[in-house]
């Protein structure tokens, strides 16, 4: 019997994620009950059993013949015996998965007398996990059993029979018994996954009852890839979720955005770890501990988490213990290399090009580049790009154990990961430990806890500053310089001493990296005990508590830099302590009841969270010795307390939810939430947010039963509102004065003071995010092709942001205000095709999503406020402008270069006046976009934005005789990048070495060039205006992962499962972007300041389970 054919599902919403995961089919069947029924209809009896034990029955009403009443009297019997007595006479049998028991018609009995043989076997999931509770029967007979906790079975069968194995969520498996006596059967998942339990807020629902835009990432998708961070689990697996690396820095976290960027007020997804708001960084979570992830994208789904859920919710469930004991060990090791390097000019080329630039500007040649005066400057000695990179090494080891019995279970895991980056002296390390367990103290009372600890540490160089970035410096540092002094002293070398000023104010990038001495140990401890009490049938009380402690003890030592170039004749030690404590308590009460065809679940809850932060930072300087062993404050001659601060905030909420469904066809869910925050003052402190969702399981309608092409069809729609506080500071209504230090006096002394630099706002209110979603879930071709499609609109209004005040307000830190709205519109489509033919199984998943971000309104005085990073002396390139995406690039449009002086002179306005009086051949031709006859700031227009128009991914898995292959492509389309390497690398005026591309600059012999003429002067503002020359298409498609694995037959290893694999990441990229790496992310507003590039990774791994 196929799961898809089960029409009427009576099973009510499963309430507890933790509980659901703690239960196996075998546990369910072992539950004991006492029951006395006399002449009652079978459905009613089943309902009574549901109330007595923790089980859900599903069946097609047509299978339960009406009128056939049953009489039964059992005392403290196991459920499986009860079911046998109950169902066999009615010609029914059952299969079990978790707490769900599916009742169906037993195959017709055929009394045949054949020779019986004893067979044994193991039933495994797709990933090789044993499947307890799978039904194993001989086709056409009543001979059958279910597998035990280890997924094994024993059965006496006729030798000519056909073995049929069924398990909820999997395709039915059939095999001729023949002479075979030992079976190892790997089941293939039934992709309609109708019975999948989906983790949603404060509970779980079956997939068929999901009403919102909820996506899940199961272990299946995760198994064969290799993950650096938990964020990468979401990369390309969920449509509408964008995970972008902020470059390849081993210490960086990826940006996760669900359905775009909703607000100028930092709106990030809320991470819920095992039901608790997780305050740590997502890279503190070991991806190997994760059982599955649900992503709640629309407001109606996320609303249950209210206050902080407007950026979407990521629900992470970690692994839990099973009823038998398992050990899993895995190890990975690999190397990584830089993908693409940028080419700089060699010394001779640089000298030549600089001379051209000085000649063009009509200024005297620089002596350093005069071959007669400084021949040495023409000798290329060092390729700095080669020297700053190294081969990175990654090691990863994870060990986990789990086990338990019907009452208790545990899961313990530990992991260590080390990632030596591709830039010299950069690395990261992560240690993680987790203990999850749960225990049934006495009937109806379950206690459990999740405890995790992770320690993360790393060191990285600066690659985000347009002044001091290490990669920038490597590009622009003179190639006639050497890493070490040529005198053999072993000291680092600087720029050549002769004509030192000709080389700009950069420091030796290799020295900079090798001198790095930072430690940033960040520990995150999460203790989450909970208790679940079921005092009455259908009623569940859950009390959930969590303490999160995040602690950073950072140390950074900067040595003196005495090489020629830029001298820093001091050393300093920073010590920083930053403690964050969060306390959370949640009390929820759930009641579920089924009356006839009507099923209700009602939830009421209360949550309270208090966050406290405390930090201090001390600086010591004037160390006599810089040896690493003396880098302690005790050796500093001067110690300054730089900063010490703290803050505290509280969020409190009341929440109510009603889920209702009629015959599983018509579904309704409504949520009302009342949120209060300490960050606002009354009367704006409390806000109520409603949401509602509706669903229609069309494929379960009687009229749909004859449609065979479509196996599953569900239409859903939702509307909801959620509050957003985003990055609102703790006390926007009472902003602290800035603490200042000044020199006053004859012998000037530190003189401290206080001044108001930011304004308070007592009238702030909640920012509201209102979202609508319409979605369609479908299964075609007997469920081999499944997909879902969502269209959404999300509008954030009363947007909270720190308004930048006009300069003459005198408050540079601005003021938090509610002002403006942002609309995100888009769609998401996910398609999966899955098939198995003989021993070949394969599945292909494609996701595509589009999000359009647009500022709908913004308060008048912020209309033209520039944002984003400052790149050297350029005006900021990003702007928030109504009708455009947040942080759009804003500047001048060019029509290429003037090909000649004549062409430049001929560029005139209507009155015949030159539009660019100073322009000559090889200068940019700026467009007079407002047609006022003058080129000025009013001609600036939006030139693009850093957000992708489309994101897409393609994931394919193939399995054949123990081999598995994964291919994963990810692409983003239509985003723009501001390429600063071109600004500094093509303009000789900075006095740095230039990009090799500079050779293609405009010259009288190369008038078709796209790079402006080389000149030490910039009369035409080629380099002081943000223009479309710097804005590049950042689209790319990248092979994020390719993995080939092989799993040894368990028989060879006494039942243990051993998989070995090799994997490659980022092996090739298709892009037109001219910078090092297009994956610059949106953390830096799409401005590439020579960012740490994503590396190519080659790894091998081994995984052993027994």
């Amino acid at each position: 019997m196929r799961a898809t054919s089960i029409v009427c599902i009576l099973a009510t919403v499963l309430l507890s994620a933790a509980y659901a995961h703690g239960v196996s089919g075998q546990q369910v069947l072992n539950q004991r009950l006492t029951l006395n029924v006399k002449n009652e209809p079978l459905p009613q009896v089943l309902k009574r059993i549901q109330q007595l034990v923790d089980v859900n029955f599903s069946y097609k009403s047509a299978d339960l013949a009406p009128g056939e009443n049953v009489t039964l009297s059992v005392r403290d019997s196991e459920l499986k015996d009860v079911l046998a007595q109950l169902l066999a006479p009615a010609g029914l049998d059952y299969a079990v998965a978790n707490k769900n028991i599916v009742i169906r018609k037993a195959p017709r009995r055929e009394q045949t007398s054949v020779q019986d043989v004893d067979i044994t076997g193991t039933i495994l999931s797709e990933t090789g996990e044993p499947l307890p509770g799978a039904a194993v029967v001989v086709k056409g007979t009543s001979i059958g059993t279910t597998t035990d906790a280890d997924g094994t079975f024993k059965l006496r069968v006729p030798d000519n029979g056909i073995l049929v194995v069924s398990f909820i969520g999997y395709n039915v498996y059939e095999e001729q018994i023949g002479n075979k006596v030992n079976f190892e059967i790997q089941m293939v998942a039934d992709i309609t996954q109708l019975q999948d339990v989906v983790v949603v807020g404060y509970g779980t629902v079956q997939r068929s009852e999901v009403l919102g835009a909820v996506s899940t990432v199961g272990l299946k998708e995760a198994s064969s890839r290799n993950y650096n961070t938990a964020a990468e689990l979401l990369m390309g697996t969920v449509p509408g979720v964008t995970v972008m690396n902020n470059g390849g820095d081993p210490t960086a976290t990826g940006d996760i955005k669900i359905r775009g960027i909703g607000s100028m007020n930092k709106e990030n997804p809320l991470i819920i770890l095992d039901g608790v708001i997780f305050e740590g960084a997502i890279n503190a979570i070991n991806p190997n501990e994760i059982e599955n992830i649900s992503v709640l994208k629309d407001a109606a789904s996320a609303a249950i988490y209210g206050a902080r859920a407007s950026g979407g919710v990521i629900l992470i469930t970690t692994k839990k213990g099973r009823t038998s004991n398992h050990v899993e060990v895995s190890y990975q090791q690999g190397v990584q290399r830089v993908g693409k390097m940028l080419k700089a000019l060699n010394a001779n080329e640089r000298a030549e090009l600089t001379n051209i630039a000085t000649d063009n500007a009509g200024v005297a040649r620089i002596p350093a580049f005069d071959a007669a005066r400084d021949p040495d400057a023409r000798i290329t000695r060092t390729n700095w790009m080669d020297e700053i990179f190294q081969t990175g090494i990654t090691n990863n080891i994870d060990v986990s154990m789990d086990g338990g019995n019907e009452k208790s279970n545990y899961y313990i895991s530990g992991g260590y990961r080390r990632n030596k980056g591709i830039l010299l002296n950069t690395q990261s390390e992560r240690y993680s430990v987790r203990v999850n367990s749960s225990h049934e103290l006495w009937k109806g009372v379950r206690f459990g806890e999740n405890i995790s600890y992770s320690l993360w540490d790393g060191q990285t160089g600066n690659t985000s500053s347009a002044y001091t970035g290490a990669i920038m410096a490597a590009l622009y540092y003179p190639t006639n310089a050497t890493i070490y002094r040529q005198d053999g002293s072993g000291k680092f070398g600087g720029v050549p001493e002769l004509h030192a000023n000709a080389y700009g104010d950069l420091i030796n990038p290799v020295a900079y990296l090798k001198r790095l001495d930072q430690s940033n140990p960040t520990s995150t401890l999460l203790i989450n005990p909970y208790v679940e009490i079921k005092p009455l049938p259908g009623l569940l009380f859950r009390s959930n508590w969590a303490i999160t402690q995040k602690r950073l003890d950072a140390k950074e030592f900067n040595v003196k830099v005495l090489e020629t170039g830029k001298i820093f004749d001091f050393n300093e030690l920073y010590q920083t302590s930053d403690n964050y404590n969060s306390f959370l308590t949640e009390q929820t009460l759930t009641y579920e009841k089924t009356v006839g065809d009507h099923a209700f679940t009602v939830l009421a809850g209360y949550t309270y969270q208090r966050n406290k932060r405390n930090m201090f930072r001390v600086r010591g300087t004037e160390f006599d010795y810089e040896d690493p062993q003396y880098r302690y404050l005790r050796n500093a001659q001067v110690i300054e307390a730089r900063e010490s601060n703290g803050d505290e905030d509280i969020i409190m909420s009341y929440v109510g939810r009603v889920n209702y469904n009629y015959k599983g066809r018509y579904l309704l869910s409504g949520i009302v939430r009342r949120d209060g925050t300490s960050k606002l003052l009354s009367p704006n402190r409390w806000e109520t947010y409603p949401s509602v969702s509706l669903g229609w399981n069309i494929s379960q309608e009687p009229f749909f039963q004859n449609v065979t092409v479509v196996s599953d069809l569900k239409l859903r729609g939702s509307w909801g509102m959620i509050g957003n506080l985003g990055a609102l500071s703790a006390y926007p209504y009472a902003v602290g004065l800035a603490r200042t230090q000044a020199w006053v006096g004859l012998d000037p002394q530190y003189t401290y003071g206080y001044g108001e630099t930011g304004l308070s706002n007592a009238d702030l209110k909640w920012e509201t995010s209102e979202q609508q979603n319409i979605g369609l879930d479908f299964g075609l071709l007997e469920g081999r092709l499944i997909g879902s499609f969502d269209v959404f609109k999300k509008k954030n209004y009363d947007m909270l942001f720190r308004k930048v005040l006009p300069g003459n307000a005198g408050s540079p830190d601005g003021q938090w205000i509610n002002g403006g709205n942002v609309v995100n519109k888009g769609f998401e489509l996910g398609l999966t095709y899955r098939k198995s033919t003989g021993e070949l199984t394969y599945d292909v998943t494609a996701n595509v999503a589009r999000v359009k971000n647009e500022i709908g309104f913004i308060t008048e005085d912020n209309r033209f406020q520039n944002t984003g990073p400052v790149v050297r002396t350029l005006p900021q390139a990003n702007i928030n402008l109504v009708g455009n995406a947040l942080g759009s690039f804003y500047g001048f449009k060019t029509d290429g270069l003037f090909r000649s002086n004549d062409e430049a002179a001929a560029y005139v306005n209507a009155k015949g006046q030159r539009l660019q009086p100073n322009a000559v051949g090889g200068d940019f031709k700026f467009l007079d976009t407002d047609n006022d006859g003058v080129i000025d700031n009013d001609d600036r227009v939006v030139l693009g934005n850093p957000f992708p128009k489309f994101t897409y991914s393609f994931n394919a898995n193939v399995g054949y005789k123990g081999f598995d292959l994964n291919l994963f492509f990810q692409g983003i389309q239509g985003n723009d990048i501001f390429n600063t390497t071109r600004l500094l690398g093509l303009n000789p005026g900075y006095g740095y070495n230039m990009l090799a591309e500079a050779k293609e600059a405009w010259s009288p012999d190369n008038t078709n060039a796209t790079i402006p003429r080389l000149s030490m002067k910039d009369n035409n503002n080629n380099w002081t205006r943000v223009s479309d020359f710097f804005i590049e298409d950042g689209s790319f498609m990248r092979l994020k992962n390719i993995t080939l694995g092989y799993t040894l037959k368990p028989e060879l290893l006494g039942g243990a499962r051993l998989r070995v694999y090799v994997t490659g990441q980022n092996l090739f990229t298709i892009t037109n972007y001219s910078g090092m790496d297009p994956e610059v992310g949106i953390g830096n507003s799409g401005v590439d300041t020579g960012m740490y590039p994503v590396s190519k990774i080659y790894m091998a791994g081994i995984n052993l389970k027994f």
């Binding site: 000709a502 830029k566 308590t585 009390q587 004065l737 200042t740 230090q741 000044a742 020199w743």
Partner: protein, 516 residues
């Protein structure tokens, strides 16, 4: 059992939901504006915060000096922005100059906070007067610096609402004269409230005093074209007899003379902290500091300036280093532009300002830069030398200018200055003599040669002449032109453009100066 569980459950729900004032938290961190103005101490710490911006590079590090670069005294390291300043072709949005506007208003805002709140604090009257006087003074100085850079008779700059700090959208005044009038009022109040410099103890040196307020009054009236009042207040400074010229001009620009008899107002600086102090001396120092210090080498004196000095003017060698001149550099006698001390190619003019080089003369200690004199941080090349903003010689010359403009004789003032320079006195000195004296006396200081020329109406003629390198020859063997004659339009270029980004967010209260 069930009852117990149920009761516990209900109890837990109730206790959890009963406290509604649980959302009240006490803001942590520094005091807030509402809670701050309570005591004498707060009045002092509030005024102290004003001085923090003396270390701000946008204030007296480079800031408005970028625009002084428009004058004929200075050649600037070749960079696009400074070339555009020289050619009067900036937009005002360049990052070098954009922030200067906001920093000045920030100080004015904090002054207004003090003027609004300190009168209500219960405190010592004398101290209150000093604090209020300081606030009036600083507000006026910031206001004046902005006013003449951006305002003219067509429109001044917005005067902040002193009563309501949240009223940001204040229109440009109808004329900069309104600003000058407001500034004068502030300075008069400051002069009334502040003590003479001599009343301060060493720890308070660097706070404004009576004669500083009068001096700024003279400067304000000079810009306003009110010669009588300029004369009045410059005269009050002189008549107070609190100041005198330091006998040796070269000695004036030394750390030990930070608060000499000639001091009236300056940027108090120190090198003791790697992140504070005025970087101006480091900005003027040779690019890369002959590989010993991170000099920035931004502004250089022109040959034109050098030529202005009379041959026996002792100020010339104290002001400008030329090839072959000896000077102390980190404890060693160096010869400018020779051997290891050859100037870099970014030295635009072949000369170097010497006025602010004293701190770089001290020897290193155990091979390290001595942080008593020079900042060890190459990114913050500040020194222990205060950067003068108004000194007594300037007051004398302002007096002279005011007198000459009214047709009065100013020989006394001009000759005091000449005498110190070891020059022969003049009799019947003319305005041209005054202009000559002012240029030589104050070269390379923040007294703003460019706006002197604008005020005198000389900018167009002066700037039309090319500026030459000290010695470099072009390929024809002639002395190299570093800046060709420039086209200064007095109807436009007498003010600078307001940063367009400020105009964009001003809700129409700001508009651009005509022609920019």
């Amino acid at each position: 059992m069930k009852k117990i569980i149920l009761a516990t459950m209900v109890g837990a729900m109730l206790t959890a939901t009963s406290c509604n004032d649980m959302l009240d938290v006490v803001p942590q961190g520094s005091p807030t504006a509402d809670d701050y103005w309570r005591s004498e101490k707060n009045a002092v710490t509030a005024i102290n915060s004003i001085y923090a911006d003396f270390s701000n590079d946008d204030m007296y590090g480079r800031g408005f000096f970028w625009l002084s670069n428009g004058s004929d005294d200075i050649g600037t390291k070749p960079r696009a922005f400074s070339e555009n300043v020289k050619a009067f072709k900036i937009t005002g949005n360049e990052s070098e100059i954009k922030g200067v506007w906001g920093v000045h208003y920030k100080v004015m805002k904090q002054c207004n906070d003090i003027l609004r709140n300190v009168p209500n604090i219960e405190m010592d009257e004398a101290l209150r007067n000093r604090v209020l006087g300081e606030a009036h003074f600083h507000h006026a100085v910031m206001h004046l610096e902005l006013a003449y850079h951006y305002g003219d008779n067509r429109a001044g700059i917005p005067i902040m609402d002193r009563k309501d700090p949240k009223n940001f959208y204040v229109k440009r005044t109808n004329s900069v004269q309104e600003n000058y009038a407001f500034i004068a009022e502030d300075l008069k109040k400051a002069a009334e409230l502040l003590p003479y410099f001599e009343a301060y103890k060493g720890g308070d040196y660097g706070r404004p005093h009576k004669t500083a307020a009068w001096s700024y009054l003279a400067r304000t009236y000079l810009y306003a074209g009110d010669w009588a009042n300029a004369e009045l207040y410059a005269g009050m400074v002189i008549d107070s007899k609190k100041h005198s010229l330091v006998p040796d001009f070269a000695e004036l620009f030394t750390i030990k003379n930070n608060f000499s008899s000639e001091y009236i107002w300056s940027v108090t600086s120190s090198a003791k902290n790697t992140t504070m102090g005025s970087i101006f001396p480091g900005v003027l120092l040779e690019d890369k500091g002959w590989n010993q210090y991170n000099g920035w080498g931004v502004f250089y004196p022109t040959q034109d300036l050098y030529n202005e000095f009379e041959a026996n003017d002792t100020r010339r060698e104290a002001t400008i280093l030329k090839t072959g001149d000896k000077f102390m550099y980190f404890g060693v006698e160096a010869t400018f532009n020779e051997g290891a001390y050859t100037v870099s190619s970014s030295n635009r003019t072949g000369l170097q300002f010497r006025k602010f080089m004293e701190p770089f003369g001290y020897p290193k200690v155990y091979g390290s830069i001595d942080s008593r004199y020079v900042n060890t941080n190459g990114d913050k090349p500040s020194t222990a030398l205060n950067v003068p903003l108004v000194r007594y010689a300037d007051v004398l010359l302002m007096m002279a200018e005011a007198k000459l403009k009214q047709g009065k004789n100013a020989d006394a003032e001009i000759n005091l200055v000449r005498q110190r320079a070891k020059l022969a006195p003049k009799s019947g000195a003319t305005l041209d003599d005054l202009k000559h004296e002012r240029r030589c006396e104050l070269a390379g200081e923040w007294t703003d040669r460019h706006f002197d020329l604008v005020r005198w109406g000389d900018a167009k003629a002066k700037y039309a002449k090319p500026l030459y390198h000290a010695y470099a020859k072009d390929k024809d063997g002639a002395i190299q032109v570093i800046y060709a004659g420039r086209d200064f339009n007095p109807a436009i270029h007498h003010v600078w453009p307001i940063p367009p980004d400020e105009i964009a967010v001003s809700q129409g209260t700001l508009w651009q100066n005509e022609g920019w």
